[in-house]
Amino acid sequence: MAEGMTWSIEEADKLTQAEVYGRVLTQLGEKDPKIIAMTADLAKSTKIGNFGQKFPERFINMGIAENSLFSVAAGLALAGYRPVVSTFAVFAALRSAEFVRTDICYQNLDVKIIATHAGISFGQAGSTHHCTEDIAVMRSFANMTVIVPADGIETGNAVAAAMDWPGPVYIRIGRGFEPPVNTTADYGFQIGKAVTMRDGKDITLICCGVTVLQAVRAAKILETQGLSVRIINMHTIKPIDKEVILKAVMETRRIVTIEEHNVLCGLGSAVAEVIVESGKACAFTKLGIPDQYVIVGYPEDLYNHYKIDADGIVEAVSALMGREIEADENWDDET
């Protein structure tokens, strides 16, 4: 196990997000007897069942009862336990939104939520099972921390960090077929501190979750066109890393955000809030799912359709590079 790490899984870069978190949680459960895993008839689909196989006495399957899933979790937290709750994002963030908000966030309880099948990762299932609204909902809840890991390794890091982080945490992952970006886990993951995946001076791509890999692919294409592209993996949407955003505004003056979420109220909006409040000029584009219900399809096809894949990012960057902005000459004086 690398220094500073609380989990270790062989070949984690080859495992899905869900597989990694199931195993990491089980490792953490060995050290912390207060961890309880909970789900609502999705033990296998979410992989939280791994924990249940190892610690059946600390595993609670509610049946298909997502609302009470969160109120019972709140009760267990009030009893001194540390519940980790996993279900599909659409149920955690939308069906049970008020239970998460009132029972967990309002009371500021130590409950961690691992929401799987987020975004359009379950693309073929249709909009009843898509969730392109959860970042918006969860980041609006006071006391809630929101993390969108890029891949399996980062999910492991996020789960481990969340267990050392006070209060409610929402971790958003996909269905489990998302390809990896990271090759090692010891890159210094910290909640609230974005990871600069590569440096660049012409434009910055700010991404989270599955779009991190798409940004990496896009940057390689853009590099051949002579562009120096910075990539920021904004794995924590709340609290957002303002410093890294302002640095990108100052140093690249062009920013594209990319997210597998409604283009309203998600990562792009969170980044835009920081930029606007800075008062600095910046060419800016948000890529994401348009404000509509998503067509059915395989996720990779949908990323292409909604232009949040490498090709879409390249297209958006090209357009943004041609946009004129009024540079603020007094930047250095004001910062």
């Binding site: 509610m62 609302n67 009760g75 267990l76």
Partner: protein, 280 residues
């Protein structure tokens, strides 16, 4: 141990004081959920002055019995009891509903000592109580969890989710109550929807069900004690109550779910309460 005549007299005195405090707070607060606060009073008085294993000086004592007021709008009546028990300086209740006060209509557990969960949104309390009772079982703790629900909130599907899971886990350390005053905001429960037959509903969900007069301390005490002896399932005590109990112009009138009092109404309400207990 069944309640003695002395116990009952003492509890009635407390209930009288609490009801008068509820009227006073409603007056000073500029309004409050007085009807349901008055209907729940005897259930809460029995718990707080006879049965709960609690220490107001140690509101977060980990082995204390838990009390979840799922009908969080009864917060006014609950705060009257918590203040009287000494969880906080009861003179602070003059600030009930006031801007910046720790006391809103629905109590916040992070602001009000003795409040074990922040309730107010209906259909949440039983699930929280199930979690607490389940946690006690898992940790080998002996404390009991009590939950007081309104009858109107039984329309919420989450109540029945929690009922299923509570029975499945055989939570015999959980006792819940329904304050069955037959009224919700818009009118009588049975005119708006169909809640009855509650006994059969909860029994079919696997709960021990007891039905009592929710204003009779002998019956309330007997049911709480009976619930403590039931093994392998939680108990639901359905308490037939009167909304606005003891204030004649409020009793059984759904319009007193929430209301304000001028000084004449307050004085009349206080006189009604005195009169009721003088006859008792």
């Amino acid at each position: 141990m069944p309640l003695t005549q002395e116990d009952i007299k003492r509890l009635q005195e407390k209930a009288k004081d609490i009801r008068k405090t509820i009227v006073d707070i409603t007056f000073t607060a500029g309004g409050g959920h007085i009807g349901g606060s008055l209907s729940q009073t005897d259930i809460l008085v029995a718990l707080y002055y006879k049965y709960l294993n609690i220490d107001p000086k140690k509101p977060r004592w980990e082995d204390r019995d838990r009390m979840i007021l799922s009908k969080g709008h009864g917060g006014l009546g609950w705060a009257a009891i918590l203040g009287e028990k000494g969880y906080f300086d009861k003179t602070l209740l003059k600030n009930f509903n006031k801007t910046g006060s720790p006391f809103g209509m629905h109590l916040d557990m992070l602001k009000v000592p003795g409040c074990d969960a922040s309730t107010g949104s209906l259909g949440h309390g039983l699930g929280i109580a199930v979690g607490l009772a389940l946690g006690a079982k898992m940790a080998g703790k002996k404390y009991r969890t009590y939950c007081v629900m309104g009858d109107g909130e039984l329309c919420e599907g989450s109540v029945w989710e929690a009922a299923i899971i509570g029975a499945f886990h055989k939570l015999d350390n959980l006792t819940a109550f329904v304050d069955r005053n037959n009224l919700m905001i818009d009118g009588p429960t049975e005119e708006i929807t169909q809640l009855d037959n509650l006994n059969d509903k909860f029994a079919s969900f696997g709960w021990e069900v007891l039905r009592i007069d929710g204003h009779d301390f002998t019956a309330i005490g007997g049911a709480i004690e009976k619930a403590q002896t039931i093994k392998a399932k939680p108990t639901m005590i359905i308490c037939d109550t009167v909304k606005g109990k003891c204030v004649d112009y409020m009793e059984n009138d759904y319009k007193w779910h929430y209301g304000g009092l001028d000084s004449d109404m307050r004085d009349k309400a206080l006189a009604c309460i005195d009169n009721y207990y003088a006859k008792a």
